[in-house]
């Protein structure tokens, strides 16, 4: 799953991404396209350290029962440019 996002992966988006990722049971990994290492999408420290710059493409992979829903939700979050609403 690939997508282009408008802002860099700064602290706040990183927190939102990991908060969302933690709602799923699936193992979820994320990386900046082309990076060698996949990062645990549930680790705030690691996602923040990923330093995805503005306009980069990030990729998700997930394994587990709700993997599909997880990737769907995460890509929607990024596509929507990390809106503030969270519940």
């Amino acid at each position: 799953m690939k997508l282009v996002h408008a802002v860099g992966m700064h602290a706040r988006p990183a927190v939102k991404l990991t908060k969302l990722a933690k709602r799923f049971r699936a193992r979820i990994a994320v990386r900046v396209a082309g990076a060698e290492e996949w990062i645990d999408a549930k680790s705030v420290a690691k996602v923040m350290a990923m330093r995805a710059p503005c306009d980069s493409t990030i990729e998700f992979v997930a394994t587990g029962a709700d993997a599909q829903a997880a990737v769907g939700a995460l890509t929607a979050l990024v596509a929507a440019d990390f809106p503030d609403a969270d519940g």
């Binding site: 706040r12 927190v15 990991t18 908060k19 933690k22 709602r23 549930k42 680790s43 705030v44 420290a45």
Partner: protein
């Protein structure tokens, strides 16, 4: 009341403590209870066992409390505060070895996801692990 691990921020400076707590609230949201204290009883720089105790008690829950500290005295006074608590509370409090601002945000993000006290501590300390 939140069913998540709470975060206590203990700095020598009330301004630092409040600023770190503001960052947690703004970045992580209201799913996590945050208490903070800073300065000594006279209002100067320092830490105060009674104030730390008060902060911990204000948000303590069986799920636990992760305490973030800055320099030396903040840690020793936090340890002293924890020792003064009844045994049943003492067991569910950890003092994290992490940078105070970053650690508080990481810990709160983990706590907001419902993480256990051990996981919250690990998230905060991941930063100093290198």
């Amino acid at each position: 009341m939140s069913g998540n691990v709470g975060i206590v921020i203990v700095s020598h400076s009330i301004d630092v403590a409040k600023g770190a707590a503001d960052m947690v609230r703004q970045m992580v949201g209201e799913d996590v209870q945050v208490a903070f204290c800073g300065g000594n009883a006279e209002g100067g720089l320092g830490t105060d066992v009674a104030l730390i105790l008060q902060a911990i008690n204000s948000i303590w829950s069986p799920k636990g409390v992760a305490v973030m500290v800055d320099l030396g005295g903040a840690e020793t006074n936090s340890e002293m505060a924890v020792e003064m608590l009844p045994a049943e509370k003492r067991g569910s409090i950890v003092i994290c070895n992490a940078p105070i601002v970053e650690g508080a945000v990481m810990a709160a993000a983990e706590a907001a996801g419902g993480g256990s006290l051990e996981r919250v501590r690990a998230a905060a300390e991941e930063l100093s692990a290198g």
